[in-house]
């Protein structure tokens, strides 16, 4: 449906086209509206396109393009055959061109005259202006009058676009006189009143915001012109503190502007220096148009900042000064406390009484008067303690040491103190220290933590009666400070100036009517940080082969800057790095499973919750052998060796015969044979040996002794053996091995009977030769054969020949011959041997005795000697 309005618009377009025929003679399309359009974002825009002066195209051939996009045909409305309209939503902020165009392919004319079949309108988008708010106008004081410059500020509301900017017009009307108006694009403007500020006139003020999409006014302000005046603040402010009114100083000032401009209201405030909290004097207490005011309820001897401002229209800025009130008598007790230190070896305590100035000292404390009462009825004089007079720079009250005394553990004491300034004396404070061990119970469940830059404490009250207050004490090194809390306090923060990274011992004492109870204590940091240094690392002992014990010295307290939560031990060696974490209360640790003979570098990180610090590196080298290992090896080897030697000795001892038999087999010396010699050339006749044959026989026995003499250990046994031998001297049987046995005796022994045979069981009876009729039928001796017993004294094993009876007989005959026909050279040799043997016997210490005995008893051996043939002749050839 085409509305009547659209038809009217169409008619208007036609008329307009006719009126501006020049342009349309060259252009066949025209839109309505034709010029740039300012549109509100979010609205719809409707445009109409009309065909003029041509029949080449119809409305059906027209289309709309918004920027580079063809508008959907659904948004078109065909008005008639030569006109079409479109409604497009206004969305984006950017300005756009809306073109009405004709299809090119309709006819060659259209194709060749594209420019004539195109018409566009520029769409600029924006928002309608917002209502200005918070209009604030002011005229400030210049010298003694008010400036004629009137400035207003306001706040904008709503959005703007660069295509549709908003402008503001400030309107100021001096009622009945003149209107002022000024425009700006900003949010403030000022007007200049003609010649003077319109005092006592009524002003009407408003701000108008306007742009291409509309205009809107702010709320209108209609007020007296003086209500916009902002004067200078009062000047020449003086505060006079009078001696007799220390709490009520008088404040004076000069008005900034003449009273004829209007009555000025005032506002007064004050605070102590450094305090952020102002105390305002009630407005009702301050009259208008005044130039002095007496402040009330200030603290004596306190520095105050006082300020005042005035108001004609707007409040002026503040102006003020700093002053100090006069001194007054102290109105509160001194803050009395004590420190107690144990005295070693004595049942005494070192008590130091300390005090802070009263909270309301109201002046500089000059002296303290103290009285110590050790007995209930003591009525001592007051002592006066002079105060140095130094005041703390950080606002904290100065601590004065009042008294240092030694107090017996079981003795209580009471101290009374008053503080004096130049005006008067404070109320008395007292402190009672109970006997040691008789203090009242402490608070329970004390917790200390850091938060919001303060140390907070929380506790549960004790069960004791008469609880009057608490004292919170914090100690760091030699520094002690305290504060008092009332008996209902359960949670508080330390108000003193605590430092970060410093360990404090925080204690809560319950005070029972002046008596100090037992404290509950905790250690705490206001702020923790990483330690400033690591611990000093060392080895507690020499490193072992596979382990080393590390020790370290705890970091000095002031360098810890926090609680050490753990130590991390790092050690590297042999290309590997290891890490071990131990609790913070550990001061030594044994590194295990180390490689031997390896250099290790070790260091320790001490950690707090905020970080850690590393110690210097300590190096050590593990041992190649564990301590005692070498000694163990040496002892083991030695013991083994000794065992082997011992076993060998024992073996030798017990198997000496076997060894001797195997190692030194006895080769029988025929020349030493004791078998009776016989020779066909010599009659078998017993000859008295010209020389003792003992030497020739004893050689054999000495050999045995020599063999024994190799081992020193056996020397000990020799006396025993000697005894044995000696005891056997007369009892040795045939073949006895005793070196003491003589052939003669042996023979005689054998003769004496066979009961002695057992004693010679250990010896080898080489032979028992019976002189027979000769070898195999030989008859060497024509004389009737005389049975001769001859026996070899040799302990050597029998030779084969001896074992062979045939041979034995021969050998025996030879020996017999040998004895008779002994070669002088051989005899000499034998003598030498004998001598040597004698020496050897002498060395054993017993052989010479026998020899001597034998030598000294030649007659005794007569019979035996007859049985032995002289062997000096040696062997005779057979």
């Amino acid at each position: 449906m085409v509305s009547a309005g659209e038809l009217l618009l169409l008619a208007g377009l036609v008329l307009a086209a006719a009126a501006t025929g020049g342009f349309y003679q060259t252009n066949h399309l025209v839109t309505a509206p034709q010029t740039t359009q300012f549109l509100e974002i979010g609205s719809n825009f409707k445009a109409t396109c009309m065909i003029v002066n041509t029949t080449e195209v119809t409305a059906d051939d027209l289309y709309w393009k918004l920027s580079e996009t063809t508008v959907s045909k659904e948004l078109y409305t065909k008005l008639n055959e030569s006109a079409i309209s479109v409604t497009v939503p206004v969305t984006s902020v950017q300005s756009e061109w809306l073109f009405c165009r004709a299809k090119k392919g309709k006819s060659p004319y259209v194709f060749l005259n594209t420019g004539k079949f195109m018409y566009g309108v520029l769409l600029k988008k924006g928002y309608p202006p917002g209502k200005p708010e918070n209009v604030f106008c002011v005229a400030v004081q210049e010298k003694t009058t008010i400036s004629s410059t009137f400035r207003c500020d306001w706040a904008t509301v709503g959005r703007q676009t660069s295509d549709v900017p908003t402008k503001y017009t400030l309107n100021v009307v001096v009622i009945h006189i003149r209107n002022y108006s000024v425009s700006t694009e900003g949010t403030h403007a000022q007007v200049e009143f003609v010649d003077t500020y319109p005092h006592f006139m009524t002003l009407e003020i408003w701000v108008e915001a306007h742009n291409m999409l509309g205009k809107i006014e702010s709320e209108r302000i209609t007020q007296d012109a003086n209500s916009f005046v902002k004067t200078n603040p009062p000047s020449d402010i003086k505060v006079i503190s009078e001696k007799y009114f220390p709490t009520s100083p008088l404040m004076n000032w000069t008005q900034p502007i003449n009273k004829s401009y209007g009555k000025l209201k005032y506002e007064i405030r004050f605070c102590t220096s450094g305090s952020p909290n102002w105390t305002y004097v009630p407005k009702g207490d301050i009259a208008t148009d005044i130039q002095s005011f007496r402040l009330q309820s200030l603290q004596p001897y306190t520095e105050y900042i006082t300020q005042v401002r005035c108001q004609l229209g707007h409040w002026s800025d503040w102006s003020g000064t700093t002053m100090k009130t006069a001194e007054d008598r102290p109105t509160s007790k001194p803050d009395l406390w004590r420190t107690i230190a144990e005295v070693d070896g004595k049942n005494e305590r070192r008590v130091q009484f300390i005090s802070k100035d009263p909270v309301f000292a109201n002046g500089r404390i000059i002296t303290f008067d103290i009285k110590i009462q050790e007995q209930k009825n003591d009525n001592l004089q007051w002592d006066t303690i002079l105060v140095n007079g130094s005041e703390s720079s950080d606002g904290q009250r100065v601590i004065t040491v009042l008294k240092d005394m030694l107090l017996a553990d079981l003795r209580p004491v009471r101290l009374c103190v008053t503080a004096n300034n130049s005006v008067g004396t404070s109320p008395m404070a007292s402190l009672f220290i109970s006997a040691k061990g008789r203090e009242d119970p402490p608070v329970k469940g004390l917790k200390v933590w850091s938060a919001e830059g303060k140390l907070w404490l929380q506790w549960t009250p004790p069960n004791g009666p008469d609880l009057s207050e608490y004292v919170v004490e914090w100690v760091s090194g030699e520094q002690t400070d305290w504060q008092r809390e009332n008996k209902n306090t359960r949670l508080t923060a330390i108000k003193g100036n605590l430092e970060g990274f410093v360990r404090y011992t925080v204690s809560v004492y319950s005070i029972y009517s002046g008596r100090i109870g037992k404290p509950a204590s905790k250690e705490a940091y206001l702020k923790e940080g990483a330690p400033l240094e690591g611990p000093v690392v060392r080895l507690n002992d020499k490193p072992g082969r596979n382990e080393a014990e590390l020790g370290w010295v705890e970091i000095p307290l002031h360098r810890q800057r926090g609680f050490i939560v753990n130590y991390t031990i790092n050690y590297t060696g042999g290309g590997e790095t290891h890490e071990v974490t131990v609790p913070g209360n550990t001061v030594s640790y044994t590194l295990k499973s180390l490689s031997s003979n390896t250099k290790y570098d070790t260091w320790i990180n001490a950690s707090t919750v905020r970080g850690s610090a590393q110690s210097s590196t300590h190096s050590f080298t593990t041992l190649k052998y564990a301590p005692g290992e070498v000694e163990s090896i040496v002892v083991g080897v030695s013991l083994g060796f000794m065992f082997v030697v011992l076993m060998t000795m024992l073996l030798c001892l017990y198997k000496k015969d076997v060894i001797k038999e195997n190692v030194w087999p006895r080769i029988p010396n025929p020349g030493e044979s004791t078998i009776g010699n016989w020779s066909p050339d010599y009659p078998l006749k017993a000859e008295t040996p010209k020389e003792n044959c003992l030497s020739g026989i004893s050689v054999q026995d000495v050999d045995v002794c020599d063999g024994k003499s190799v081992f020193e250990e056996d020397k000990a046994c020799l006396p025993l053996k000697k005894d044995k031998y000696l005891s056997e001297e007369h009892s040795s049987g045939i073949g006895g091995s005793s070196c003491m046995s003589s052939p003669r005796q042996s023979v005689s022994d054998s003769d004496e009977g066979s009961d002695m045979a057992d004693t010679t069981a250990s010896t080898v009876q080489y032979s028992s030769v019976v002189a027979s009729n000769g070898y195999k039928g030989q008859t060497p001796n024509p004389h009737p054969q005389q049975a001769v017993f001859s026996r070899s004294e040799s302990t050597q094993p029998l030779l084969d020949s001896e074992e062979n009876p045939d041979m034995m007989i021969q050998e025996s005959s030879r020996q017999s011959q040998g004895f008779k026909q002994e070669n002088p050279a051989e005899i000499h040799l034998l003598e030498m041997d004998q001598q040597q043997e004698e020496e050897g016997v002498e060395s054993l210490g017993f052989c010479p005795l026998d020899e001597e005995s034998e030598q000294t008893k030649p007659s005794e051996g007569q019979s035996a000697a007859s049985s032995y043939m002289s062997q000096r002749e040696g062997y005779r050839p057979q």
Binding site: H176, I177, D195, T196, H199, F200, M201, N258, S260
Partner: protein, 220 residues
């Protein structure tokens, strides 16, 4: 019976009419009281503001005369003691409030040409940066503002009586410098007297006019 019924109807009608009339009277009284209160308030405001401004101008006139004397060189004290013709009369005339207010207004108006003339003369005599010139401009503007306040005050009190604008002011003939200096000082001093008189009259008017009208309204 009928007569009794008619009588009762009439009685009821009379009661209703009386009630309505009373209501109308109360409404009219309240309305007039509100209007009167509003007018009284307006009256008081104008008087109050005019009075304050006249006091301020009085104070400024004192300062201005000091500045004027200081800027005129030697013998400045003597200038202000000489009498000069053609300076408007500072006295307020009239017996009725309307006449007094009209007199205040016309007297103020009469002085403005003289201020302009003094300003022109002093512009020739002083340096452009002289504080006297700016003070003169400010004082003149303030005086005009006072006149602007008196006019609505008068109109608020006497809306149907036109405010006379005053006759033409006669400015002095050409003067030499001495005469100019004397003339300027006399104008300022005379105007100061006028302001003093205005303040006094306004104080009396404040108590007379505004209260009287309130009283009148109350009586009404």
């Amino acid at each position: 019976m009928n007569g009794h019924v008619k009588s009762m109807h009439f009685q009821r009608f009379m009661e209703t009419a009386t009630t309505l009339l009373s209501l109308l009277l109360v409404m009219a009284f309240d309305s007039s009281r509100t209007v009167a209160a509003s007018r009284n308030q307006q009256c008081g405001d104008y008087v109050q503001k005019s009075l304050k401004l006249s006091r301020l101008l009085q104070k400024e006139s004192v300062d201005l005369i000091k500045t004027y004397k200081a800027s005129q060189g030697e013998m400045s004290e003597l200038f202000c003691k000489v009498s000069v013709n053609n300076v408007p009369d500072p006295n307020i005339s009239g017996l009725e409030p309307s006449e007094k207010i009209a007199s205040i207004y016309t007297h103020l108006q009469e002085f403005f040409p003289h201020f302009e003339w003094v300003y022109e003369q002093q512009t020739d005599l002083q340096l452009p940066t002289s504080p006297l010139l700016s003070d003169l401009r400010r004082f003149t503007a303030g005086s005009r503002n006072l006149a602007y306040l008196i006019k609505p005050f008068y109109q608020s009190l006497f809306p149907n009586v036109p405010l006379p604008e005053g006759g033409p002011t006669t400015l002095p003939p050409p003067q030499n410098i001495f005469q100019q200096k004397v003339y300027g000082c006399v104008v300022l001093k005379t105007f100061k007297e006028l302001l003093s008189n205005v303040s006094r009259e306004l104080r009396s008017l404040k108590s007379q006019v505004c209260r009287r009208r309130t009283h009148t309204n109350t009586l009404f």
